[in-house]
């Protein structure tokens, strides 16, 4: 894998082998799609890891930073929205994320693009499409490198940035961009005399290193802007208010430009519920972090109830995020929120002071690069607060935020916990703007979920999946899977059973027919012995297509009763019909026993051989499929 990763960077290592070994993480709650995708990706010579739960995938990404190159994620997942995962991955790991869905309608695809997806694939996904996903990895890298080159020159640094920003403005899909641009130009023109004033500093500036917008610096910027008012904030005045030595008006101007752009986009969000404004270029990276806040804020704003104080408080929370050793707990944030709610809505200074506090506690652990991006986002939030206070009018803060408060706090808490776990954020040297820190995180289940074997989540690390049923045997007996263990004992105590599953009549073929040898492929009718499990396994008669499918899916019996597919590998079809009330594990064991007996140990041996390598994934995948129903409606 090392050489593969090297191959992905520009021209290094083994270019001709790229994209072989591309490390892909596939996330899809649909086990069928997951399995198919995994196989397709493997055929593309990629290194595949599959995962059926978004939270687990996120943990996986966090724990193994730098171990994946691209993420494929489904849009509709039960534990986390695919778009949210998309944003988080983009923010925290800055990986290209490709969305997938059976729903390929335009509005959904649009949402995917707006959330930052590199691509949007519509199921069924063909392997040709998967063969091409490496392009997103390469494109992302090269874009980063280009940006770095862009900002490499010291002398023209600020002017270049402005040029780039202007270009971004021009190409921005945001219709408001033009207005902002005009406003910017007007301001710049009106401040021409200031330009001459500062021209003396320009040579000095040119020699100075690139300005990094640290958290504190950005906070000062935001305070200054808030004091002046967003409409009146001009770089010169901002500079004066900030009173930071060595900072030039150009620095402030370019920063302000980005800030306004972000605000404009946010305002677009407020107007169009649920539609996130498009980001572009370097600004996008700066604001990626904000997108997470947007995720929550946008919903709040869309509901027209988010007061500026709430935004300020949220902003403060974001500001406090980068602190690795942030002592300020979510508690204080809550207090902050409440306090801000109580107060009048138009005390920008107080607001700033309020969320200035956490900043003081921000450690400098994070790299400047990280803070810079953070700052810009946080600025936006407070800026948005200031902006919204003017535009959104009076709102009822208490009730609005009250409902939002808890989830935010919870998220904050979990986020802070997450943040404390992360020691350092790896900066990307190629870019000065780097969005790395993790953001609001879905609470609670993150860590426990990803303990191997504890959650019925299939996480596959490039393992072949051969025999479905057989593998269940070992995990049941050996694995530490808590869910499996609990079930295992029950399973083993039950008499061997099962057979070809097709159709479940609600009677468990729990006992007798197991012992029969089905080598002759004739399925025997399982006597309807009373079963403790309301299982579904029943061996239908051969060639007996009984009953059409009814609501309980019980009586469908295919014409093929063969429970063994003789071939290169042996195969036991897993039960086709599974009653929700049954113990899935018992089914599994039934299959296994059946399998064992029917093949007179011949196949068993081979399956055992397969088991060892396919153990975990199969068990988890199968168990996931089996255990999942108990939670669904």
């Amino acid at each position: 894998m090392a050489c593969a990763s090297g191959g992905k960077s520009e021209g290094a290592a083994v270019p001709d082998q790229f994209p072989v070994g591309l490390r892909v993480l596939v996330v899809d709650d649909d086990v069928v799609c997951l399995r198919v995708l995994e196989q397709m990706l493997r055929k593309c010579m990629y290194n595949v890891t599959s995962c059926s739960q978004a939270t687990v995938a996120l943990n996986l990404l966090r724990e193994r930073k730098g171990c994946f190159d691209v993420v494929l994620s489904d849009v509709h997942m039960p534990d986390m929205d695919g778009f949210k995962l998309l944003e988080l991955v983009g923010l925290e790991m800055d990986l290209p994320v490709i969305m997938m869905s059976a729903d390929g309608r335009t509005n959904l695809v649009m949402r995917g693009i707006r959330h930052g997806a590199c691509d949007y694939l519509i199921k069924p996904i063909r392997d040709e499409e998967l063969k091409n996903i490496w392009q997103h990895v390469v494109r992302k890298r090269w874009t980063e490198i280009k940006e770095h080159d862009h900002s490499g020159s010291m002398e023209d640094h600020d002017r270049q940035k402005r040029a780039v920003d202007d270009a971004e403005y021009a190409s921005s899909v945001n219709e408001g961009a033009d207005e902002v641009l005009k406003a910017q130009r007007k301001r710049r023109d009106s401040k021409d005399e200031d330009d001459t004033e500062f021209e003396n500093d320009d040579p000095t500036t040119a020699k100075k290193p690139r300005v990094v917008w640290s958290v504190e610096l950005h906070q000062q910027f935001v305070s200054a802007v808030n004091q002046l008012g967003i409409d009146k904030a001009v770089p010169k005045r901002i500079l004066e208010l900030m009173n930071v030595p060595g900072l030039t008006r150009e620095n402030v101007a370019s920063h302000l430009q980005k800030f306004r752009l972000y605000l404009k986009r946010l305002s677009g969000v407020a107007q169009q519920q649920g539609v996130l404004p498009a980001y572009c270029g370097t600004v996008e990276q700066n604001l990626k972090l904000a997108s997470l806040g947007r995720f929550d804020i946008q919903a709040l704003v869309a509901s027209g109830q988010l007061p500026p104080q709430a935004l300020a408080a949220l902003h403060a929370e974001f500001l406090s995020r980068p602190a690795g050793n942030l002592i300020l707990p979510a508690m204080d944030q809550r207090t902050l929120l409440h306090a801000s709610l109580q107060g009048s809505k138009c005390i920008p200074v107080d607001r700033n002071v309020a969320f200035g506090q956490p900043l003081m506690k921000c450690s400098s652990n994070i790299t400047k690069q990280t803070s810079q991006s953070l700052m810009s986002n946080e600025d936006v939030h407070s800026e948005f607060a200031a902006w919204s206070s003017k535009h959104l009018g009076d709102m009822a803060p208490a009730c609005a935020l009250g409902s939002v408060n808890e989830p935010n706090s919870d998220m904050l808490m979990s986020f802070i916990q997450q943040q404390q776990q992360k020691q350092s954020i790896i900066p990307e040297p190629s870019r000065s703007i780097n969005v790395q820190p993790s953001c609001l995180v879905v609470p609670s289940q993150s860590s426990p979920n990803f303990q191997a074997g504890n959650s019925p989540v299939s996480v596959n690390q490039n393992r072949g999946f051969r025999n479905v049923a057989v593998d269940h045997n070992n995990p049941l007996l050996q694995s530490n899977n808590s869910s499996g263990v609990g079930q295992t004992s029950e399973v083993e105590s039950k008499p061997p059973c099962m057979l070809s599953e097709f159709g479940a009549a609600g009677s468990v073929s729990s006992v007798s027919s197991c012992s029969r040898n089905v080598k002759d492929v004739a399925c025997q009718r399982v006597p309807s012995s009373p079963s403790t499990i309301n299982a579904v396994l029943q061996v239908p008669n051969m060639n007996c297509m009984q009953g059409s499918y009814n609501g309980k899916l019980d009586m469908v019996q295919g014409s093929t009763r063969n429970s063994i597919y003789v071939g290169k590998g042996t195969f036991i079809p897993s039960r086709f019909a599974v009653d929700e009330h049954e113990f899935p594990v018992s089914n599994v064991s039934h299959q296994v026993k059946h399998y064992v007996q029917n093949n007179a140990n011949k196949v068993k041996q081979e399956s055992n051989m397969d088991l060892t390598e396919n153990l975990a994934w199969h068990s988890e995948a199968a168990l996931a499929a089996l255990f999942a129903p108990q939670t669904t409606a």
């Binding site: 086990v31 196989q39 729903d103 392997d127 051969r466 479905v468 014409s559 597919y565 086709f576 041996q605």
Partner: protein, 149 residues
């Protein structure tokens, strides 16, 4: 195992199923049957859920239709992934009915869906049976390799 689609399954499955067959190789010798079985398992869950969703749904009760939409979407995804073309098409119609909060339409679509699914299941089983017989006829040896302990 690159063979043409069995005419038995004509109409029920499409080229995607062919792709599945092409994905099967020495390292995943039972890939197709494995995936199909997972599909059956998942589908029956989903169909059960859909039936429940239909039964509890009342016109204009947004949340229930939403659940239905989620189940439908998943069913559509898995069906299309294995090439169950007709099932998928019915899902599309089903989704349209649910988005219009059309309870009667949903029930009709559900019946049709169940029918198509049943049909597909039978066809696939026939396909597997034929395949198995073909293999038997070809005299594939039983796995008695010495490397098996």
């Amino acid at each position: 195992m690159k063979r043409a689609l069995c005419p038995v399954c004509s109409g029920s499955i499409d080229e995607q199923f062919l792709q599945l067959q092409q994905l099967q190789d020495e390292s995943s010798p039972n890939f197709v049957s494995e995936v199909v079985n997972i599909y059956f398992h998942e589908s029956e869950k989903l169909l059960r859920n859909l039936r429940e969703d239909c039964l509890v749904v009342v016109d204009k009760e947004f949340s229930d239709y939403k659940k239905m939409g989620i189940h439908l979407n998943q069913f559509m995804g898995s069906s299309s992934s294995i090439g169950a073309q007709r099932v998928r098409n019915v899902c599309v119609a089903f989704r349209a009915a649910s988005e219009q909060n059309n309870r009667a339409g949903c029930l009709r679509a559900l019946e049709l869906l169940e029918y198509e699914y049943c049909y597909l299941k039978n066809k696939l089983h026939e396909l597997f049976q034929i395949e198995q017989q073909r293999i038997l006829a070809a005299g594939v040896r039983y796995p008695q390799q010495p490397n098996n302990p």
